[in-house]
């Protein structure tokens, strides 16, 4: 018995022990999946101890949908110290007062953030509408990229892929993968649908990125419903794999996924290409922020600083295939590729960088960037967007469903009735059988 008690005591201790950990030695990072060179995490722990003399252990968690991350913080009050949301979520978090201002006070440690951040990214962050707050005080960019079309050149011509309408090409039925991201799909399709209006100056691309009107939502929904029968899948992250296996020929996706797929495609002999369609497209940014419920703000600030150090940037870019927000010449030099045509990246790396041999999938030319815009938070209209998407994606009900359900309901009702009848007759028969029946059991 004593043993049992000591076991119970041990269990109780375990339970209590689970409740409290010293949070100043723990840094909870919440990042997109596949979005870092994981060896960097351990290196940060060492670096942090070197710089501050304090020990820290990183708990690294990943998400693959912005909204999951946001609701964990907004509704679940989870104590992540540093997270990496996308532009429009940073906007929403700013508006909803969910972020702590960043500190640039690193003592002896160099400030890698401000030394390296590209002016282009800084300007884009200025455009984030955070009410009276400037996003640059609350967020530091991590990666950025474009949304576009990844396609298999064996089955799709460059000409076909240069418009968003390629996803409505019936010849590609069952070979089209669409990123399962309502906002990205809406933004591109609305640009496609309004291309005339944009050309003729009736509306600007930026205006279309906010909620405009019900008709626009309905138009995108109608368009996507035409696309739906052709779609092979709504992918969160697996589209790139489907493309390299030639299961998909067209993928509406992000440039980072495209880079990964193109590289992988080369090793297996699949010619994949990526294009930002002519009607215009969105540019996206993910940035590090410190949520309101963070418990280890100091380490979080150091983490953001560390993530901006050029050599760390280069390693993360190498592993993930995404493009860093870093405008440091060191980073630019690291990605110069002699096989590429020169591109004008002066908007990103500074005025002297007008002809650098960089991969245009990673760093689009200045002319391409001119066709781009940036997504915004829809505030209270976000629900309409989600409803539109569910209307497109969900609703697999058809007449068979209804027939089967009706038949099933009838059968269930019949069963209930027969059960009740049986129970009645059993009750009356029990009177006669009495105790004998029980004994036999």
């Amino acid at each position: 018995m004593r043993r049992l008690f000591s076991f119970a005591a041990l269990a109780a201790l375990l339970l209590l022990g689970g409740c409290k950990t010293d949070r100043s030695t723990v840094l909870k990072v919440y990042n997109w999946s596949d979005y870092i060179d994981e060896s960097v995490i351990e290196e940060f722990e060492n670096w942090y101890e070197e710089q501050t003399g304090e020990k820290v252990r990183v708990i690294y968690q990943t998400f693959d949908i912005n909204e999951t991350m946001l609701s964990k913080i907004e509704r679940g009050h989870e104590d992540f110290d540093v997270v990496c949301p996308s532009d429009y979520i940073i906007e929403r978090m700013l508006k909803n007062d969910l972020l702590l201002p960043l500190s640039r006070d690193f003592g002896e440690t160099p400030n890698y953030i401000d030394d390296n951040l590209s002016p282009y990214i800084r300007a884009q962050f200025d455009k984030i509408d955070g009410g009276d707050k400037n996003a640059n005080d609350y967020a530091v960019g991590y990666m950025w990229g474009t949304t576009g079309i990844l396609y298999n050149a064996k089955y799709v011509t460059d000409e076909e892929a240069s418009t968003w309408d390629v996803i409505r090409n019936t010849n590609l039925s069952g070979r089209i993968f669409i990123k399962d991201s309502p906002r990205d799909v809406y933004s591109q399709i609305i640009l496609y649908l309004h291309q005339k209006d944009i050309e003729e100056g009736r509306v600007t691309m930026d205006e279309l990125m906010n909620y405009t009107c019900e008709e626009d939502l309905a138009a995108v929904e109608a368009y996507m419903k035409q696309v739906k029968p052709l779609v092979a899948g709504w992918e969160a992250d697996f589209g790139k794999d489907q493309m390299t296996q030639e299961l998909g020929y067209v993928n509406l996706t992000w440039s980072g996924d495209a880079v990964w797929a193109i590289e992988e495609g080369k090793t297996v002999g699949v010619d994949l290409r990526y294009v930002c369609p002519k009607e215009g497209f969105t540019v996206w940014f993910d940035g590090w922020v410190i949520p309101k419920y963070a418990q280890n703000v100091k380490a979080a600030n150091y983490w953001i600083n560390f993530m901006s150090r050029p050599d760390i940037v280069i390693r993360n870019v190498d592993v993930t295939g995404y493009v860093s927000v870093s405008g440091s010449p060191e980073v630019m030099d690291a990605f110069i590729n002699e096989d590429c045509e020169p591109v004008d990246v002066s908007y990103f790396f500074g005025p002297q960088a007008t002809a650098v041999k960089l991969d245009p999938v990673l760093y689009p030319d200045k002319a391409t960037i001119a066709r781009s815009t940036m997504e915004h938070d829809w505030g209270e209209h976000t629900a309409d967007l989600v409803a539109m998407w569910n209307g497109v994606k969900g609703n697999n009900m058809n007449i068979t469903t209804v027939i089967i359900l009706v038949v099933a309901a009838v059968v269930v009702l019949a069963l209930i009735v027969s059960r009740m009848k049986k129970a009645k007759s059993r009750r009356s028969s029990r009177k006669y059988i009495g105790k004998n029946a029980r004994k036999r059991r």
Partner: protein, 270 residues
């Protein structure tokens, strides 16, 4: 002729059931990153699995395997102890109390995993228990113990309860009587319960998914889930699954041969 059709039908169903498993086993002997491509025979994946030289994703695979085993072991052990004690108690209690416990005991078995997972998640949130190792183990004990109870109860029915009384009459303390007389007779049921619990804990995905919290705890199932959502599965999973398959196969064959032998013995005695 009839026999031929019966056999053919069984063979067809077996093919259906085993095709994906055989598919995994075969592709565990090639290095191709993508499941389904054959790039020549190789045992490199097995080598990677055992040399511990894996890096990055595959390295965290081994951590996940380690977590899975620890959780399964602790959960199965506690479930076996708790379940055996409970079975003895249930066996000796009567009437409403017995029915009530049996009713509660059946709930985790009838509930789908998602419901068990969600309900336990809400419990841990409600009690303010940080979710992680402890919550996952508690959750696993919850769905394992009923099976232990159900495996030990029949052994109690078979047991001659007089032997326990006799031991007490002959001066044994209750503890001694329990250890020397009762436990040996219950052992086969406990063992089956333990192995069942262990395999169920190994296999669980939904309950772990809801109760593991945000400290970054990964078991094999959640690892596969995260991995699969990204598209490519870590190739080392293929040899791992093949090995697990063989181990489970061996375990189940052992249990069943034991049971069949025991049944035959019983038949002989009769």
């Amino acid at each position: 002729m009839k026999k031929f059709f019966a056999r053919a039908f069984l063979a067809l169903i077996l093919l259906l059931l085993y095709a994906p498993l055989i598919f995994i086993a075969i592709s565990s002997f090639t290095e191709s990153r993508v499941l389904g491509n054959w790039t020549g025979f190789s045992t490199k994946l097995y080598g990677n699995l055992f040399s511990g030289s894996m890096q990055g994703a595959a390295g965290s695979l081994m951590t996940a395997v380690y977590n899975t085993l620890i959780i399964a072991l602790i959960a199965a052990l506690v479930a076996t102890l708790l379940g055996t004690l409970a079975a003895i108690g249930i066996f000796y209690s009567r009437g409403r109390a017995k029915n009530a416990v049996m009713f509660l005991n059946n709930i985790p078995m009838v509930n789908p995993d998602v419901i068990t997972g969600v309900s336990l998640f809400l419990l841990f949130v409600f009690l303010g228990i940080t979710q992680g190792y402890v919550s996952v183990i508690l959750a696993h004990i919850t769905f394992c113990t009923p099976y232990v109870v159900l495996n030990v109860l029949p052994k109690l029915h078979q047991m001659n309860s007089n032997t326990y009384e006799a031991a007490l009459d002959l001066g044994a303390t209750p503890g001694q009587a329990l250890r020397k007389v009762m436990i040996p007779q219950l052992l086969p049921g406990m063992l089956t319960g333990f192995i069942l619990s262990f395999t169920m804990s190994l296999d669980d995905f939904a309950v772990t998914f809801f109760t593991r919290g945000t400290i970054g705890l990964e078991t094999l199932s959640t690892y596969i889930y995260t991995d699969a959502r990204k598209g490519g599965l870590t190739p080392e999973l293929r040899p791992l699954m093949t090995i697990i398959f063989i181990v489970v196969f061996a375990l189940l064959v052992i249990i069943n041969i034991r049971q069949e032998r025991a049944a035959k013995k019983k038949a002989l005695i009769k």
